[in-house]
Symmetry: C5
Subunit: 274 residues, 5 copies
């Protein structure tokens, strides 16, 4: 972590990263709930929402679509990733060099590390090269820190998530993206383990408005520095609407109730809002 | 994908790539139906047909024969490929560097990626290097996107082909070559998943004129941007004749009936033409 | 070993290296005895104690925190390391290049070698590159020489520790860090095998004041050139207090009794002090 | 293949390559029939015979002996090769770089590829680097194309040999060396598959004069461009004598009978000469 | 082999290389017979004996001790080597680059190759790089040619040793170090297989004066070009004394009896001296 290295992808120190590498990682099936989002133009358009501090995509999408949005969108170059056709121990191909990403106009890089995989050492060494090249190009560094593979029975226990954020700090990430560990206490612990480096929560699969905002709210209250989200935004009928709510919670310290109001969304469990 | 990066190998945005790497991939057996085509001179001669937007060959054939045809033929350098003597999990040797291909005069590169193979990650990283080097030399990039290997029972299901074209888009191909997924609907879906990048159908093994033109026509109607074909052209007694028909279907929006007329070929199933 | 190459991290030829890479190697669990030490600021503060000749950390912590302490702390860049999520044969990822470490301001590098591991050869070759790059940047070289893996039943026998220090000498370390081999005679033998290169004892897990100081004292009397210690300092309620005692033993030839007096610590086994 | 790239190692478009890497590939046992040939001086002396268009040796022999013969012998640098102590799947170490071979004075390189081996892909990629470096240094390229390994029951069937020559063409060899496939028809087919690139027959183990010349004659009549031979020359009592006969058959279109006459050698099966 | 490339480490064309990498290869146990020799200073001192043409050590020892002896000792940089903690198939880590060795002041390099090991190909390719770099720096090249590993039941048969010396010649060593093959005839055969390159006998484990000198004498009489010896010198109580005897046998054509006289050593089997 280098102070301010992440400034281009944060707003008041917080981030809302719109992740859109699902076409590679999961395949076209992720676009079925909202077929228009198979078109990167639609997602970059969503990315112009004021809540979004960066859009994370793979090289092919960046080189094709980013030039048209470079004044309105901040590019986070997701450097590695692998199709789910891959049947081996968790691993991720490096699809993009930092040099090329910088030329395309990225302000930060994103890199997945699967701690605990039999490929952990190889991935960490690839991260080293990317991280040091990012420093040379003055790009921020975001680690997707997702322990998985041989020996990990449950990858979202509090201990594992706390270890995940610590890996980000020790290895040189400015921001580390982790799964929500299930409770505010566990999130708070994970945030502490990251020390001065930042932690953003992973958005995960689609949930209802109140549930999603409540989880984000509790992560923020526990000290998280924002959110990296894909499906929970673009699989909705109205992605901009949930971004309104997320903006309120993440950047304006709104309550979940206030955020639902901003969205014009009915609570599904009104009692939980008190 | 970079807009217009494929211009040298397209005509009105569409391509007919004459692929001729079968001597490496399948061996001499593929030349038996038309023995004259074992001689690259014959195939480059076919490649001068106005329907052909590029000829795809391996390095050895390019360096020996392309110089004599450089004014009449556009060279697509097929960079990787492997003999069928190889008994291991699907993989493809990188036989040619982009730098050398550019010196020989190529206007685009071709690269095979076997998604789902145990060598997927290695192949995708080799593709990264080739793709980025191609950008430096202003060469178009065509991916042969052929999922196969451990875990793939059927490599031509609609879902697999849609994933195949998406891989091309996400990883940075200008044009992605895929097998025909069996129906116009599936082809249309695959084309949508490629967004602004292009999709060409693979010609496959030799079929009769009407069958072949009908499949190409339905692919074009479903939004495909052309064809990459080898055996279905050079294994015929009269390769130029089928190119006349393909030119009509691909570039002139002809019906199959009109294309067969241009060729002077009798329909084998006249009823299907109505 | 090059004479004086380790001067920046020694004082009168002796070292007390404060090691703080436990967040990577062991995870957050190592900070539980003294939670404040999860914060690198606290540990760098401890590192300003006059007893400490260098602080050993991973890249991410160095780039974030070292700049604020560069006038008061000497940086030892621990280049490799691996999480304990790793289930494979002992190995260590190279997380940091010498070039970057030199830019961040390191005065020496630290590198783990697991002799006897199935990855021994790979690790030794990575050490070669780091060692030679360190020579070019005039950085001292410290080897963590820890035989383990296939074939090693007991990694702390006198023979193994003597071999460990010899590996440091033969491969080009200025200082070799080894586990205490259990007796002064064994330590003395290990020190002899290092010839003119230096040997520091590894601090190990937390023990009581008298026990710890006694072991350090016996190592120093056996010819060791100091200590590399983490948990036995930062897991205590008062890390500075034990550093007072260690300073007395290591740099001032104090007896254990004198060191305990300096610390204001009661002996747990007064009879052993005679 | 590049036209004329092989000129330095051909005479009227044909070659007789004296191969002498048996000390590496087979060991000293190959010198037992004619012990004097363990001495490279003896073999370079044989290589000054007017029939020989190039001598193929490994680096160590070239750097020691070639300087004394550079006016009389053309050097073909055999870049890879492996001892028969190797028990693994067929593979060949790259013992010599093209850059060094060019400095030593080579006019061409030789490279073994074992199609069908589990190391095929690695070998073909090593060939790529050597071939492209050879182009930069204007050296001819000869491939020893020897399918073997997992999955190949019989490596000298007509189909396999035809595939072997095609691999040479597709991958960029100027000349491909293959085993004799057993009949003139099969040899002719293999020659056709090489198109404009050249094919030389491998000499194999020692046979009698008439048998050997007859096989060479039938290969030449089938379109082969010469011979690469070791044991069948240097294991004889009089290597120069058989070279006289080979020169007649290969370069002077002599019949086997005429060649035997030139040699002063009695036919072993006179009836077969009619 | 390049004529005269080994001049710096020979005297009248012959060598006595004092090998001292046992601390790495075997561990401290090899110093037990003469504990003073754990100290490299003592061994460099022995290396100033007029019989010694070069001292072979690893990088760490060279950089620490050679500067003080550079006027009296010739440095042979042993580039690779592995601890005996290693349990895998025979292999050797490359611990030192040629560039660094040249800077430290080496006049030649030493490199182990285990023919027949599953790592043979990798080792031979590492040797290639070292050998070619040595040529650029005008350093002599010595190969420790020690077949071992899978498939070798007896690594010191005459055939294996003859193959060993041939590997040195073919791959480009100036001097090849091999085990004594058991008889003068076998040694003579091995020497012949090395042609103009040189062969030195490996000293092996400690034997009595007469036995050792007799073996060296018979190797020299069989055409060997000297000796590379470690334990048989430094494990003795008086290493200089045996060097007096070896000098007589190797450089002065003395008989064993004369050599024992020079040493002032009693024969253990006087009858064998006649």
């Amino acid at each position: 972590m280098i102070p301010h290295a992440d400034e281009a992808i944060t707003r008041d120190g917080k981030s809302l990263i719109l992740a859109y590498d699902h076409g590679l990682e999961h395949g076209p099936v992720d676009f079925e709930p909202n077929p228009a989002t198979a078109d990167p133009d639609r997602v970059f358009e969503i990315g112009t929402h004021s809540a979004v501090t960066a859009v994370a995509v793979q090289k092919g999408i960046a080189e094709a679509y980013y030039p048209a949005y470079e004044d309105e969108v901040t590019l986070l170059a997701k450097l590695n990733g692998t199709s789910n056709l891959w049947m081996g121990e968790p691993n991720s191909a490096v699809n993009w060099t930092v040099e090329n990403a910088a030329e395309v106009g990225a302000d930060a890089i994103g890199f997945t590390v699967y701690g605990g995989s039999n490929h952990e050492i190889e991935m960490v060494e690839e991260f080293r090269d990317a991280q040091e090249a990012a420093r040379e190009h003055d790009l921020g560094v975001v680690m997707w820190s997702y322990p998985r593979g041989q020996g990990l029975k449950n990858a979202t226990t509090p201990d594992t998530i706390a270890y995940s954020t610590r890996l980000g700090l020790e290895l040189g990430a400015d921001i580390t993206k982790v799964k929500y560990p299930g409770s505010p206490e566990a999130m708070s612990h994970a945030v502490n383990m990251a020390a001065d480096s930042k932690v953003v929560m992973s958005g995960g699969s689609k949930t209802d408005d109140q549930d999603f905002l409540s989880t984000v709210k509790s992560a923020m209250d526990a000290g998280a520095d924002g959110l990296a989200v894909g499906r929970n935004v673009f699989q909705r009928d109205n992605p901009e609407q949930i971004l309104d709510g997320l903006e309120a919670v993440i950047f304006e310290e709104a309550s979940v109730k206030e955020a639902l109001d901003v969205m014009g969304s009915e609570p599904t469990d009104p009692a939980a809002l008190d």
